[in-house]
């Protein structure tokens, strides 16, 4: 399909504003000539109808939860309720200027304050900031809190963050960004953290540990209390990557199992739409002793009214302009209020039920990397197939597209070879899980009977398999025929 630039036609457009009237002063008389550009930017000139057709066609070329089962492991692609979109778009929310006086935004401040309280309760933590824009920014915020804590305690030498080898890439990247050195900790044969390896890496240089629980292998860290104790004993703090909170909400609370600080991904656990890459929202919850360092402003309730409090001398400052991705807060608040305590817990239970059920269908033919009950997701190791047939995980993933399923996350976590990480979420039904399992089992057959078909998949998408190597070797990252 054409890019919009290829549809551009000089002079074509729709007028949204009135043309200049007779008494309008030319811009050149108001601004210095030296400041003005001489060549207009190469934006396309198209009609509104063409815009509509362009984006309608683009939408038809986009797999999505609304269109497809999308069991992308670690991403919690659950149903994004339409009521949330309707509410977030209410003018009383969407049309607010971030610098409006506090007395004109009491409803919104109440939502933010209440969401903080609800997240704190779900986390078993004392306090929450909603400011971080996504999980990775939550991690950064969390590590800056840890850093502030150690600085305050004159423990500046603590420059190492321990991170399990199964962790998501944002964890080590965040450690670096916040000036820490990453020390990798091994996983043991059951997929948990190797306690001996952990012990050997703890020291007075340990600032803390980042731990994902349930882990990216879809496993609850059985030794979590012992691990937290070890880290604490070594003088470090424990950060939890809460990307997988969907599996345990209402059944266990990080604050209760030794975590000092953690983030939520509202775009996972609380279903705010991921929009082809974002926005997200990464609130950070922590124990009381870290509160002084939280970003400003904090939201305070005074009597029946709410206000921003900027007066936190030890605060790390701001991690994002203004107050956070408010639209996502509104959606998450709505989602939690819809569910209530029982609904939130049931989400976890059925996420785990669906994952285990799907695993039960697949494990007869596929090698499950850690063959035990899982939480919200599980990881398949496709090495046997790859060895036998030459058909790799990538091929199977592409072939799934021909069955109209979005593939699972692949080649992650890195410690499982030929990994396929499957997270069905609680909002899918059994018929869909059955159909997906059937497709994957059929592909496993095809890998034997017709490997070429799998290796050259997909066959039914708007494009055939794309050349990613060429894309990276000769990067073309913008259209050049515009303007």
């Amino acid at each position: 399909m054409k890019t919009i630039f290829e549809k551009s036609h000089p002079g074509r457009s729709t007028a949204y504003l009135a043309a200049a009237g007779p008494d309008e002063k030319p811009v050149a008389s108001l601004l210095p000539a030296s400041a003005l550009r001489t060549k207009p930017p190469g934006l396309p000139e198209v009609s509104e109808l063409e815009i509509v057709r362009h984006f309608t066609e683009l939408s038809h070329r986009t797999f999505s939860i609304d269109g497809n089962f999308y069991p992308l492991g670690s991403c919690t692609m659950k149903y994004n309720p339409k009521i949330n979109e309707k509410i977030a778009a209410l003018p009383g929310f969407a049309k607010l200027h971030p610098l409006q006086p506090e007395d004109t935004v009491q409803g919104l401040l109440e939502i933010m304050w209440s969401l903080e309280r609800m997240l704190a309760e779900i986390a078993g933590m004392d306090v929450v900031t909603l400011q971080p824009a996504a999980g990775a920014q939550g991690e950064l915020t969390g590590l800056l809190l840890i850093r502030s804590h150690h600085q305050e305690n004159k423990q500046d030498q603590r420059k190492e963050i321990l991170i399990p080898d199964s962790a998501h890439g944002t964890n080590p990247a965040t450690a670096t960004l916040s000036g820490y050195k990453t020390i990798s900790v091994k996983s043991d044969a059951r997929g948990g953290i190797d306690l001996e390896d952990l012990k050997s890496k703890l020291s007075e240089r340990t600032a803390g540990m980042m731990i994902t629980n349930p882990s990216t292998l879809g496993l609850f860290e059985e030794n979590i209390q012992a691990i937290a104790e070890l880290v604490h004993k070594a003088g470090g703090l424990v950060y939890m990557d809460g990307a997988n909170m969907n599996a345990i909400q209402g059944r266990a609370r990080p604050g209760d199992f030794g975590i000092d600080v953690m983030h939520f991904n509202l775009h996972k656990t609380f279903s705010t739409p991921h929009g082809g890459g974002g926005p997200g929202s990464g609130p950070v919850a922590c124990k009381k002793f870290l509160e002084p360092y939280l970003p400003v402003p904090r939201i305070q309730k005074e009597g029946a009214s709410f206000k921003f409090d900027f007066g936190q001398p030890k605060s790390i400052g701001k991690v994002k302009a203004f107050w956070g991705n408010i639209g996502m807060h509104i959606r998450a608040y709505t989602y939690i209020r819809f569910h209530g305590p029982e609904g939130v817990r049931r989400n976890a239970e059925h996420a785990v039920l669906n994952a285990n059920y799907l695993m039960s269908l697949l494990k007869k033919r596929f090698k499950v990397a850690y063959p035990r009950l899982c939480m919200h997701e599980f990881v398949i190791d496709n090495t046997p197939y790859a060895k036998k047939t030459g058909v790799r995980t990538l091929d199977m993933a592409k072939r799934l597209l021909d069955y109209n399923f979005h593939p699972p996350t692949i080649y992650f976590p890195l410690i499982v070879h030929e990994a396929m990480m499957i997270e069905p979420t609680e909002t899918e039904n059994r018929e869909t899980l059955d159909a997906f399992a059937a497709a994957l089992l059929k592909i496993a057959d095809e890998a034997k009977t017709d490997p070429e078909k799998v290796k050259t998949a997909p066959h039914t998408m708007p494009v055939k398999r794309l050349n990613e190597v060429k894309a990276a070797k000769e990067p073309i990252v913008r259209c050049y025929t515009c303007g």
Binding site: P91, E342, R465
Partner: protein, 445 residues
């Protein structure tokens, strides 16, 4: 209440297939001592009907000002959004897609990001742009990080004309990293270029904003020269609407341009979600943070799009990544994309022209009001400074009359005690301006 599809009968069958007796059994790996034994203490479930009423009543406790009566800018701009933007943006396929990891199934997402990157390059005069960043402030932070990495210097020069919110974000991170941050104060509305020379020595970068926080148009080209002379990078934070009229950072010799996409068809949303952008000259491509979409071909030679240059990113490079960003603001960038493509070059230029027009009209009219002064004469885009008696009280009075009357600068700009920052966009008609001037004249009496 929930969206779960399994009925009790389904669940029973599924448990059998799994080989366990109950849902509780599935949670056996959680140590008993830390299992939550009570219901969460959060409010009870609300069915959709009651949920909507509840949220509507909360929304009603926020005050929305008539579009024409908002004269507040300061980093969030009240622009008109054509209806077509919402109609397309809200399509479920766009909303509920993830990052386009499987390119063949996500050509729609990839192509609209590619178009976004292209237009950001066109607006900024740069060679490469990413798929979006959290916001303008964090985009700036990442640009500074790129400069620090590139130059291996740890001193950052930043103009006092940069949005104070953005400066705070940069500071939060870099003070932890032990970098030196030098703020060069703005003087009477713009940054005095001459003072930058000294500051630039050993700096990783000089950071300017254009138009600056006070609306002033800066001498970007001169600053870039000073930066380059000192071996520093020149970074500009820009307003994309203004770029329809103003020289682009590329034309002014900047190395990196960042900014906030909110003015491009994104609702103010009380501050987020918006869409930051980062664009750079091509030599910086491998140091860029975040997703980048590239063009390629499929097995039959047909054009297609895919995420590319992922070797920069955290999921591949982990602790050596150029940034930790993973989730970005793609959906908001889509809004900006639809907006820009809908308006086109003429439409965007017209928005910018009307912004200039109306803000100068307001300034001229205010200058005639008894008690109000326009104290500094600097070239400005759509924001400017007015001096008033008792700004806080005056703003409160304007609010009573239904106007969002600008930002009192004093708490942040210590020397601007009686000064407010005012903004006009195409939403403020001449009639709105007259009403505002009249209300202000009344309020300062």
């Amino acid at each position: 209440m929930d969206y779960i599809q399994n009925t009790p009968a389904d669940a029973a069958d599924m448990l059998k297939s799994i080989g366990v007796g109950s849902i509780d059994d599935l949670f056996a790996s959680i140590p008993e001592g830390v299992r939550l034994q009570r219901p969460l203490e959060i409010p009870p479930a609300l069915p959709e009907q009651d949920l909507l009423s509840h949220l509507q009543s909360l929304a009603a406790r926020n005050r929305t000002f008539d579009a024409g009566r908002c004269f507040l800018g300061a980093g969030a701009y009240n622009h008109f959004v054509p209806a077509v933007v919402d109609a397309l943006f809200s399509r479920g396929e766009f909303l509920s897609a993830y990052t386009p990891y499987q390119a063949e199934a996500s050509q729609g997402t990839l192509q609209h990001i590619f178009e976004f990157q292209t237009m950001i390059c066109e607006l900024t005069g740069m060679d490469v742009a990413n798929a979006s960043h959290y916001d303008g402030g964090t985009a700036l932070e990442e640009a500074v990080a790129m400069a620090v990495d590139h130059t291996e210097r740890r001193k950052v020069v930043i103009s006092g004309g940069v949005n104070p919110q953005y400066r705070a974000v940069v500071k939060s991170l870099f003070k932890h990293l032990g970098a030196t941050i030098i703020e060069v104060a703005q003087v009477r509305g713009t940054t005095p270029v001459a003072t930058l020379k000294e500051a630039a020595q050993d700096a990783a970068c000089i950071v300017m904003q254009n138009p600056n926080f006070l609306g002033g148009i800066e001498e970007l080209a001169a600053v870039s020269e000073i930066a380059h002379a000192a071996g520093a990078l020149s970074i500009a934070s820009v307003n994309p609407v203004a770029l329809a009229l103003l020289k682009s950072p590329g034309e002014c010799g900047c190395d990196i341009a960042v900014g906030e996409g909110q003015p491009l068809g994104i609702e103010m949303n009380f501050g987020g979600p918006w869409a930051g952008f980062i664009a750079a000259k091509k030599e910086f491509i491998r140091g860029m943070p975040g997703r980048i979409v590239g063009e390629t071909v499929d097995a039959e030679g047909k054009r297609g799009f895919t995420l590319t240059l992922q070797a920069r990113e955290q999921h591949i490079r982990r602790e050596k990544a150029s940034s930790n960003i993973c989730t970005n603001q793609a959906l908001m960038a889509l809004r900006a994309t639809i907006y820009l493509e809908t308006l086109g070059p003429g439409g965007l230029r017209r928005v910018a022209e009307v912004c200039v027009q109306r803000s100068h009209e307001l300034a001229a009219k205010l200058a005639k009001v008894q008690g109000v002064k326009i104290p500094f004469q600097y070239p400005f885009f759509h924001e400017f400074i007015a001096e008033l008696p008792h700004p806080a009280q005056t703003l409160a009075r304007l609010q009573e009359k239904g106007f969002l009357g600008g930002l009192h600068l004093q708490p942040v700009f210590r020397d601007l005690r009686d000064h407010v920052l005012l903004c006009c966009t195409e939403r403020n008609s001449s009639a709105d301006i007259d009403a505002f001037v009249a209300a202000l004249a009344e309020a300062v009496k």
